[in-house]
């Protein structure tokens, strides 16, 4: 009986936590067999860098989704914040102090944009889907307006270093992605806030009865994702040394959400892991990479990608149940 119990316990922990990892492993093996270029260090680092932008946003999105919400505005928000970052950079001359200002302004702006979402959702009691659908349009439109539908461009030589550089051979965005992932994981698992996020997502009535300020917790998850958006915008804008108002970060929301969910977080809220989101983002990155590497008909790439997203989640479910 106890052995049975133990076994069933191990089994449960196993697939709830490592399901996404399992899906990743399968994909990795298939990819390695399918393309000789895949396991080159350089290619793997490329993949990691490519996923870090949406991955970082995904970290914040994990909190939002666990708390029972959703944020569709992150892509537009990235473009807006990134654009204003470049304006700030140009305004302050492009030196080290300018970059610090960019960081400050960006994070304040990201937090502010997230806070706006959060306030309407909590105070106005409007569904997150609809609020962020609205602000998605608003943020993108403001970006277009400020830049006259053109590009934000910097002339700084220093700024691109940030997004292009590497430390110990590993690109800066990847470092930041992983460091933030660890930080977010700690927040989710080892702080009151993290626990409240889960409680609110699981049952907000119970959370209220337990004296948790549900609205404040929800609000903070949107602020958090806003801050993550700012970091992503910083890395993105410094990588390209520019932000295109119409094109930058389009569909980031879909990739970020897909990463979270492939990572095993339930859309219905209440549970999920940051670790899973990282895996989810990498899975998406590998799929994109393989589609290019294998030279699949460009028109069919969407089919493959769609099937992989569904498949990755299906694999986990099957494993969890058995």
């Amino acid at each position: 009986m106890t052995i049975k119990l133990l076994l069933s316990k191990i089994r449960r922990i196993d697939f709830e936590k490592y399901g996404p990892l399992f899906a990743l492993a399968i994909l990795f093996i298939i990819s390695a067999i399918a393309s000789p270029y895949f396991i080159k260090t350089r290619n793997l680092l490329n993949i990691l860098r490519q996923v870090s932008y949406t991955g970082i946003i995904g970290l914040g999105m994990t909190f939002v989704i666990i708390s029972g919400g959703i944020d569709l505005s992150v892509g537009s928000m990235t473009a807006l914040v990134g654009g204003i970052m470049i304006l700030t950079l140009n305004h302050f001359g492009g030196g080290v102090s300018a970059i610090l200002m960019v960081l400050l302004v960006g994070i304040l702006l990201g937090a502010g944009a997230g806070a706006l979402n959060g306030i309407i959702i909590t105070k106005g009691r409007v569904a997150p889907f609809i609020v962020t659908l609205g602000t998605m349009a608003v943020y993108r439109s403001l970006t277009l307006y400020i830049s006259n539908a053109g590009e934000f461009r910097s002339n700084s030589n220093l700024y691109p270093e940030l997004g292009m550089g590497a430390f110990l051979e590993i690109p800066n965005p990847v470092w930041i992605f992983f460091l933030l992932a660890i930080l977010c994981s700690i927040i989710l698992n080892y702080t009151k806030f993290g626990r409240y996020v889960r409680a609110v997502g699981s049952n907000d009535k119970v959370a209220t009865y337990s004296g948790i300020r549900v609205d404040r917790v929800r609000f903070l998850t949107y602020v958090l994702v806003g801050v993550m958006v700012a970091v992503s915008a910083l890395l993105l804008s410094s990588r390209l040394n520019s932000i295109s108002s119409s094109n930058a970060a389009v569909n980031y929301e879909l990739d970020a959400i897909a990463a979270v969910i492939i990572g095993g977080t339930a859309m219905s809220g209440g549970s999920g892991t940051v670790f899973g989101t990282v895996i989810g983002a990498i899975i998406l990155g590998i799929v994109n990479n393989m589609l290019n590497m294998l030279g699949i008909s460009p028109y069919l790439q969407g089919t493959v990608k769609g099937l992989v997203i569904i498949g990755a989640v299906l694999i986990q479910k099957k494993k969890k149940r058995s």
């Binding site: 702080t191 009151k192 049952n203 209220t208 004296g211 948790i212 300020r213 209440g270």
Partner: protein, 503 residues
């Protein structure tokens, strides 16, 4: 402050509290006071306003008029958090646990222990263990709530309330899902708390227990205060009379006479980890009681019979013919019905009104191409009358109903499919004496009419008073089937604990 003077100020004074919900007054100028170390009982019929009153005290509702004094000072209890800070803790009537979280995470929800910024998980698990030990419960501190049985969840609720330093502990019908043994443990803990000066408000429909544990008893009827008396001078019978406002007759109707033919035969039914080789017969017009301790697997048995759980072995015969109950739809179509023990979780839709709830299972009968809404409403009205369901209208959402009224709707819902056999799981959980009485009579009349009934109950009296035969279960097996004189509390306990019968 002078300790003597402190003693004299009541801990809590409730002054003329009223509460209206969209114009309907459910509490009418209720006043009372409560001293440290006092256990204060509140009794009253379903919908009398008991839960509403204590929700006001613990900050979940705000009074329409009246005021609260806590430790002599006038206070506004803005929300649950404020109440916690003041030392008021509530164990609500309906469960308040996060199913995805572990026991210890739930117990410390909203009052986590920390060392600096981080959660002190180890300390919380340690404390949870000792709390559970104190409650003499063997629940694991890191078990997920969703894997616990109803009674185990209730234990966690206690632990949750005990974990915080309470000055005032409010228990809203805490013993409905507990066995006598657990109730004794609870009472012992309450007495300990009383010794250390904690005041308690205790709401229950089990009047004997109220008399046993409470110092004072307050009776509410239709939101009005009827009386506050010392429980020493108040007999159980008087309590019931005061609640209802008139004399009550004998609780249990005479036992029905089962007919000869067998309607349900269960043979060797097994479900992995739940049931093992369960076999029994049910005759037409019989009430077959199911007794057992918490976790005996009675609910699981019922769920297997209606096709919610998949059986791994065994056969089910209805009127001599084997049936395959693939899903509840099939089960209900072949004449079974089930009254769930988990009212809000799987019994009723709190967002729906009375009519839509009652006809949910039997909707086929009200539908040709389109729904015959008039027929539905008529039928619902009939049940409202028959069960005396108190509601503003047929369309009022059930979330605004008192627990007892919700249960009545749930019962009506199970009956509306005109079943041949009804599986009743904890039918009187959270129901007042009056309603209980009605419920018993009603079950009786159904059985007289040829219906057969499986009665699962943790209330020993109920099983004994109603059943023709009693099946006792332990850990997923049947340990004994008692008839006639064997049906008494002692004998049932012997089988339930494994002292008698096949283990």
């Amino acid at each position: 402050m002078d300790p003597v003077a402190e003693k004299e100020i009541p801990l809590l004074e409730v002054k003329g509290i009223s509460k209206e919900f969209s114009g309907v007054r459910v509490l009418d100028r209720v006043s009372f006071s409560l001293s440290r170390g006092e256990i204060f009982g509140i009794i009253g019929e379903n919908g009398a306003g008991k839960s509403t009153l204590i929700k006001i005290i613990s900050g979940i509702y705000h009074p329409t008029e009246g005021s609260l004094l806590f430790e002599g000072k006038s206070v506004t209890v803005r929300d649950a958090e404020t109440a916690h800070k003041m030392g008021i803790n509530l164990i609500p009537q309906e469960f308040n646990l996060i199913p995805e979280m572990t026991v210890s995470e739930n117990i410390f929800l909203g009052k986590e222990l920390r060392n600096r910024w981080f959660l002190d998980k180890r300390a919380m698990i340690e404390k949870t263990r000792s709390l559970l030990e104190h409650l003499r419960s063997d629940i694991a501190a890191d078990a997920r709530i969703e894997s616990l049985s109803v009674a185990q969840k209730q234990m966690v609720e206690f632990a949750k309330a005990l974990a915080s330093e309470s000055k005032l502990l409010i228990l809203d019908e805490p013993t409905t899902v507990l066995t006598r043994k657990e109730i004794d443990i609870l009472f012992e803990i309450m007495r300990q708390a009383k010794q250390s000066g904690v005041a308690m408000i205790y709401i229950s429909h089990k009047l004997k227990e109220v008399k046993e544990i409470c110092d004072k008893v307050m009776v509410l009827r239709d939101g009005k205060l009827i009386s506050i008396e010392s429980s020493e001078h108040l007999g159980v019978h008087d309590m019931a009379t005061k609640m209802v406002g008139r004399e009550l007759s004998q609780i249990f109707p005479p036992k029905a006479k089962p007919q000869e033919d067998t309607v349900l035969q269960v043979r060797n039914l097994s479900v992995p980890n739940c049931l093992e080789g369960v076999s029994f017969d049910l005759k037409r017009g019989e009430i077959l009681g199911f007794a057992g301790l918490v976790g005996a697997g009675r609910t699981e048995l019922a769920e297997t019979l209606i096709g919610i759980r998949k059986k791994s072995a065994g056969t089910i015969l209805l009127n001599g013919k084997e049936v395959y109950v693939k899903n509840p739809t099939r089960a209900f179509a072949s004449g079974l019905a089930y009254l769930s023990e988990d009212r809000q979780g799987s019994g009723i839709l709190t967002a729906f009104g009375i009519t839509e709830n009652i006809t949910l299972t039997s909707l086929k009968r009200y539908s040709r191409f389109l729904l015959k809404k008039k027929e539905e409403a008529l039928k619902a009205q009939e049940y409202v009358r028959k069960f005396d369901i108190k509601a503003a209208s047929l369309k009022t959402r059930l979330e605004f109903f008192s627990g007892g009224n919700q249960q009545k709707v749930s019962f009506a819902k199970s009956l509306d499919s005109d079943p041949q056999i009804i599986l009743i799981d904890e039918p009187t959980r959270g129901i007042d004496v009056q309603a209980k009485h009605e419920m018993y009579r009603f079950i009786h009349s159904l059985v007289e009419g040829g219906l057969s009934c499986v009665l699962i109950s943790s209330e020993m009296e109920e099983v004994i008073g109603m059943s023709n035969r009693v099946v006792v279960m332990k850990e997923g097996r049947i340990t004994g089937i008692l008839t006639g004189d064997q049906i008494n509390e002692e004998e049932i306990m012997f089988y339930a604990t494994g002292l008698k019968g096949v283990a």
